[in-house]
Amino acid sequence: MIEGVWLWLAFVLLAVTTLVTRGSFIVIGERGRLPAVVQRALRYAPAAALSALIVPDLLLVQGSVDPLNPKLLAGLAVIAVALRWRNPWLPFLFGMGVLWATRTFLT
């Protein structure tokens, strides 16, 4: 893990990304306008980025693909629950429940 001064430097860098992106047009004022093509392409950034962080965590066990692991099953349960209900707590309950159940009974 990153520690000490380097960890705080990482926080500051992340804070800069928050301020630069959210502040961008609000701080500049009305002068700046993004090209329409860039705006439309940028709409895909969060979905692509979130998924790029999630899928490896669900599919990889110690660095290699394992299509039948507890985290993947839990992830699928989370997707099913999130599609079906708006309640923000349910995916956590079901996801962690499936994760613990499959770890307990299948291993």
């Binding site: 990482a10 926080f11 992340l14 047009f25 009305e30 990889l60 999130a82 995916p91």
Partner: protein
């Protein structure tokens, strides 16, 4: 300013719209608090991160990188990419706040969240009174900040009560999943997510975790391409 009736009226209208939906933020805040502690950060570091960064997605997304000792530039680039959508939100909100001072615009910008944009964005453009708009935007945004930091605080100090082998860090992945599920309702968005996700798995062997960055770029390109292809097929 706070005594100005237009400001108070705006603030009341903003809170009426914002408070009910803001409840959904609490589990994410608690989970973000737990997730930070579960990778080995102490209470002080966790609260420091939350106060400085104030962005759930970037915070949760950076945690695996921090845990694995990734280079700082990659953490910066990942945070940038995860926050990129705010550039679009910022462009949309900017005209409503342009009458405010620079200091206020910087604070207002820092407090711009997904929830604030989703709930307040549309009405912000409709009022012609800049004072009303400022109240309507900034008061719910400050309330949202307090709510978020309180939730994180509960998670950070509650994390110690949960045993290690419960894999609570997985709640971070669940939170990311909850955010991505409503995003991928359209075909191009789904393509972007699938290419980004499986690209990250396939490219994981690249040095310096560059595979993650490459996968995100591929995902954006694939989503954009799918949108064009989809549009052409539909005859638009």
């Amino acid at each position: 300013m706070a005594l100005n009736p237009a400001f108070r009226e705006g603030a009341r209208a903003g809170l009426r719209a914002f408070v009910p939906i803001s409840v959904g933020v609490i589990p994410w805040a608690i989970v973000t608090g737990i997730a930070m502690r579960s990778i080995g950060m102490d209470e002080f570091e966790s609260m420091g991160m939350s106060l400085l960064v104030y962005a759930a997605t970037a915070q949760l997304g950076a945690l695996p990188l921090i845990a694995s000792g990734a280079p700082l530039w990659l953490i910066f680039v990942t945070g940038m990419v995860l926050n990129l959508r705010f550039v679009i939100f910022s462009a949309a909100v900017a005209p409503a706040l342009h009458a405010q001072s620079l200091a206020r615009r910087i604070i207002g910008g820092f407090l711009l969240t997904d929830t604030a944009f989703a709930v307040l964005g549309e009405k912000l453009a409709q009022s012609h009174d800049p004072v009303w708009r400022w109240g309507y935007y900034i008061v719910p945004s400050i309330y949202g900040w307090v709510l978020w930091q309180s939730g994180v605080l509960i998670g950070v100090f509650g994390a110690g009560f949960f045993p290690r082998d419960w894999s609570l860090e997985f709640m971070g992945t669940i939170a990311l999943l909850i955010m991505v599920v409503p995003m991928v309702r359209s075909r191009p968005m789904l393509v972007a997510a699938l290419v980004g996700g499986f690209g990250a798995v396939l490219l994981r062997g690249l040095p310096l975790r560059l595979g993650l960055f490459a996968a995100i770029l591929l995902g954006i390109a694939a989503g954009f391409a799918a949108e064009h292809w989809h549009g052409k097929k539909a005859g638009t």
